[in-house]
């Protein structure tokens, strides 16, 4: 048996609020012990022990990224590796890839395909409706049996109210959440996808007027959220709004939670770190869906994170090729990379004293697990050893040239923090040279 010992590491366990410097011993796929001195727990007489001096470093459960798009040209295994390097031990992929993840056999296929050892684990959202017309419920019960953990139409809104009602009702029956991209596509001009001349391109307001780009009014989000909350009340469903971006929708979600509805939501780093003024140079790295909003909306997202209205932070990873981004703004693709900056940008909230580190880790671990009814990640004796080791004060600058996915909306941003190690099922999925050098011979 081989033991891995993390000596004098700050352990953050959001499940038990444990936050202390300890020695952590890993054996096989489990946490063998969390104690003051590992020598009281293991002796090195008949066992091999690798001891890392983790003084000054922090350990938390591995991150759960609840929203990852796998693009047409992306390879799932490659993304799993990149995610692992960035502290994500479990991610949920969206169904709107080619082919669509809209039936049980393809869910099963992707599940099996993703079972590579020592990379990020993959969970799947099944497509809520059979096709983009959104009029027929897909076999969500059968997909659920194959392991789909929630249902959504990905980057398209579930538009038809009756279909949404039925979906919520059915999903409640099988105890799975419905995840919505909330956008009234008539208002945002996306229902006429045939021409790029009338599609909504960015948040509507002074900036869209100056740039001559077509605005998407921010109410396009809350209109769908409000309708859906009424349907959630009618059906008792667990309803989750993905990437909330406006003050109005956060307000109505806050009210829905107050009256006890099973309504949750997440946001993504662009929506708390950036606003629409980033678009002034027509930089297509900022062409996102939902679009970057006004400063007031950004502040509302931060308030929502602080007061718990926003349950989780997801990467909303939607990497795009340079070819589809090096285009006039209107013709450029929508989306930006996220898995490589999720942790760093969330940590920025801690450094800016907006939230504390425990809260940040909860937003990235136990909260998404709760929303998706997954097993709660925890660092405790005999618990599964899915965790990360990081240096929360490492000074760095995000640089597109050093990233494996593109485009990042955070190029040249100064940040503090670095993932030094990711362990999945007790095995090293990623280890940085800095951590390697800390092994005690």
């Amino acid at each position: 048996m081989t033991f891995t010992v993390l000596k004098s590491i700050k352990v953050l366990n959001p499940k038990t609020y444990f936050n202390d410097i300890s020695d952590v011993v890993i054996c096989n796929d489990k946490i063998f012990s969390i104690c003051k001195d590992f020598k009281t727990e293991v002796s090195n007489q008949d066992r091999q022990i690798n001891i890392y001096d983790c003084n000054g470093l922090t350990m938390s459960p591995g991150l759960i990224d609840m929203r990852v798009n796998i693009g047409k040209t992306e390879n799932l295994t490659a993304i799993q590796k990149i995610a692992a390097e960035n502290g994500i031990t479990s991610m949920v992929i969206l169904p709107n890839q080619t082919p669509k993840l809209n039936n049980p056999s393809i869910i099963d296929h992707i599940k099996r395909q993703s079972e590579t050892p020592n990379v990020t684990k993959v969970n799947i959202y099944g497509a809520a409706t059979k096709d983009d017309h959104g009029l027929e419920m897909s076999e969500i019960g059968l997909m659920s049996e194959m392991g789909a953990i929630g249902f959504t139409n990905g980057n398209k809104s579930i538009k038809n109210s009756l279909v949404m009602r039925r979906l919520m009702s059915y999903a409640a029956m099988i105890n799975r959440p419905i995840i919505q991209h909330a956008e009234d596509e008539d208002l945002s001009g996306l229902n006429k996808a045939s021409t790029t001349l009338i599609n909504g391109e960015m948040n509507e307001g002074e900036i869209s007027t100056r740039l001559g780009l077509i605005g998407i009014p921010s109410c396009a989000e809350v209109i769908i959220v409000e309708r859906d909350i009424r349907l959630a009340k009618l059906t008792g469903a667990s309803y989750h709004v993905a990437h909330v971006s406006t003050r109005d929708s956060i307000n109505v979600i806050r009210e829905a939670k107050k009256i006890g509805l099973k309504v949750t939501c997440d946001t993504a780093p662009p929506y708390f770190a950036l606003n629409e003024t980033s678009l002034l140079s027509y930089n297509t790295a900022f062409k996102l869906s939902p679009p970057l909003r006004k400063e007031d909306d950004r502040l509302a997202v931060i308030e929502g994170i602080q007061d718990g209205t926003i349950d989780a932070i997801a990467s909303d990873h939607r990497a795009r090729s340079k070819d589809t981004k090096a285009q006039p703004f209107s013709a450029a693709s929508v989306g930006a990379s996220g898995i490589e900056t999720l942790f760093l940008m969330t940590l920025e909230l801690v450094h800016k004293k907006i939230i504390d580190l425990n809260k940040a880790i909860s937003l990235l671990t136990i909260n998404p697990a709760n929303v998706l009814k997954m097993e709660k990640p925890s660092l405790e004796k005999d618990g599964l050893a899915d965790f990360i080791i990081f240096d929360e004060n490492y000074h760095d600058v995000i640089n597109q040239n050093n990233l494996k996915t593109s485009p990042t909306p955070f190029d040249h941003r100064k940040i503090k923090g670095k993932i030094l190690g990711t362990f999945i099922n007790g095995q090293v999925a990623h280890i940085n040279q800095i951590l390697k050098d800390k092994i005690i011979k």
Binding site: G189, I198, R210, G212, G215, Y282, Q327, P328, F329
Partner: protein, 327 residues
């Protein structure tokens, strides 16, 4: 390249203008003095006898690249460049490489490899000329990009007003029509507010872009109020190709409320002039008779001034680039 020699009688501004950039991409952000100098220089060109030799740009290569249909702007640029002695190649890419799936940047770098001095670009997407300027090393003139800007149109409009009225500062100028979809409106708003004119925008609320007042203009959805006492009434075409069909009930209703006719014009300054960047829809935004009223309509003068303004800009870009290389 040679520069046009100063004659004895010419004004202070009759030498080429040096700009702060070797591109003309937008009016927004341009200095008042720069705008003023370009207009003065264009005024000088407009006054020249047509047979004056202005061919100072021998060997200068201009590519006129149009991704959108255009007659007047393309011809105007071509004529301006030819009067300066430049070689002009017109390229219409509406049905060509775009349909073959070539990316805009590939098209651009292909053109760039032929080493032109100047690329004049019209494109249906806002911001496209900025992309060209980022990737290519020749000068770029924005000849209209999506709903964003049409800087040469604003400059020629300013020259037209200046020649008729004498000044811009303090003038009441009403821009009426499809503001939301108009690049001409945006360039004119930036230029005229920079020059100190009082700019009003008149449009049905469905065609008024949001927060337009933040650009320093007054907004009206009542045309009679919007053109009251106006010195200049600029009309814009309804750009149906950029609409969803939800903006206006009908053309006849539009004409009733937003078309310029004698009755509405009577509310403007008695000497008010009428302008339109063309192409016009008679009976939609303007009564046909008014369009042809040579006392009030400057529509043909605008076209004429287009050539002079574009000469001053092309010359200025060449002059600016030469100066940049010297330094």
């Amino acid at each position: 390249m040679n520069e046009l020699k100063k004659n004895k009688n010419e004004s202070f501004f009759s030498s080429p203008i040096k700009l702060s950039s070797n591109h003309l991409l937008a009016i927004e952000g341009m200095e008042k003095s720069e705008i003023q100098k370009l207009i003065e220089r264009a005024d000088y060109f407009a006054n020249l006898d047509r047979h004056t030799n202005t061919k100072v740009l021998q060997g200068y290569v201009v590519l006129n690249v149009f991704f959108e249909n255009s007659t007047r702007t393309r011809v105007s640029f071509e004529l301006a460049a030819r009067r300066l002695g430049a070689e002009v190649i017109n390229i219409s890419l509406i049905n060509s490489s775009i349909k073959k799936g070539e990316s805009l940047l590939d098209t651009a770098s292909t053109l760039n490899a032929m080493r032109p001095d100047l690329l004049i670009v019209r494109h249906p997407h806002s911001g496209a000329p900025l992309l060209f300027a980022d990737y290519l090393n020749c000068s770029i003139i924005n000849a209209g990009d999506g709903r964003h800007e049409h800087p040469t149109q604003a400059l020629l409009d300013a020259l037209t007003i200046k020649r008729r009225v004498g000044y811009l500062e303090g003038l009441k100028i009403s821009i009426c029509g499809d503001i939301a979809n108009s690049r001409v409106a945006r360039s004119n708003i930036h230029l005229l507010t920079t020059m100190g004119a009082e700019v009003r925008c008149v449009a049905p609320s469905t065609l008024m872009p949001s927060n337009l007042e933040n650009l320093g203009v007054k907004c009206f959805s009542n045309m009679k109020m919007g053109i009251k006492d106006a010195d200049v009434v600029m009309l814009l075409r309804l750009q149906n190709e950029r609409m969803t069909g939800t903006e206006n009930p009908s053309e006849r209703e539009y004409f009733k409320f937003f078309g310029l006719d004698e009755a509405k014009l009577a509310l403007a300054n008695p000497n008010a002039v009428i302008m339109h960047p063309g192409p016009m829809n008679r009976g939609v935004e303007i009564a046909s008779a008014l369009a042809d009223d040579t006392n009030r309509s400057l529509i043909k003068t605008q076209v004429e001034m287009g050539v002079a303004v574009r000469m001053s800009i092309i010359e200025a870009l060449n002059h600016t680039k030469n100066n940049m290389m010297k330094n």
